[in-house]
């Protein structure tokens, strides 16, 4: 779990990479050329970032003729936005407050 978190954090911490991922999330599948046109960095740089995103499972590539199309894989974010881990933290913190309250009720 911690390892998959680390990989996702490291991958998305880079602003350029995150911007590419966000565009794929918002606009759907795109070619490297289309992504490069608006990325503000060179095509090799875009390709490198896409490779890192792919390694983290955040994007998938599809080859069609001479073009490579990339699409976002939102399921890769599941470990980070899973409600069960959010709720576990919530209840631990509520139970801390409950214990404080129980102490006060003695007085």
């Amino acid at each position: 779990m911690a390892t998959s978190h680390d990989l996702l954090f490291r991958t998305l911490a880079d602003p350029t990479r995150r911007a590419l991922f966000e565009r794929l999330c918002r606009e759907g599948e795109q070619t490297v050329a289309a992504l490069t046109a608006r990325a503000g960095v060179s095509q090799p740089a875009v390709s490198k970032h896409l490779g890192v995103l792919k390694q983290a499972g955040l994007v998938r590539d599809r080859h069609a003729g001479r073009q490579t199309h990339y699409s976002a894989q939102l399921a890769a974010l599941a470990p980070l936005i899973d409600w069960t881990s959010q709720m576990t933290g919530f209840w631990q913190s509520r139970f801390d407050d409950l214990e404080d309250l129980l102490k006060r009720m003695d007085q």
């Binding site: 998305l12 936005i81 409600w83 709720m87 509520r94 129980l102």
Partner: protein, 142 residues
Amino acid sequence: MNNTGETRSVVVEREIPHPPEKIWRALTQPHLLAEWLMKNDFMAVVGHRFNLRGEWGGVLDCEVLVVEPNETLSYTWDHPHDDPAFNLKSVVTFTLTPTHGGTHLRMEQVGFRPDQRQAYGGARSGWENFLAQLEQVVARTE
């Protein structure tokens, strides 16, 4: 993967050095419940519908399912939201078991959320917020 979604549960347990009767009061008296959980119009009556109001402005729809004084309390815990990624239907059950030093308190929340894959499709605002916070999180962990 099925189309009806999946059920998951959260369990939080704690040994508490107070008797079950006292914890029961903290779970069921609205003014006490408000001190550790949320503002509420709770009543320990099966079928009673109430709301829990969080400090963040969120409102949970709840209905009392089980009341066994000093032993078991269960209610629904639903967070209706247009965005399926935030829509949560769940049931919270508190179980109190007396121990030598006090009480073993167990909370289990069993929840349903629509199929995650579909939910992510509509989760735009959620993950955008998440991404916006990411840099801060990373900065803290380094």
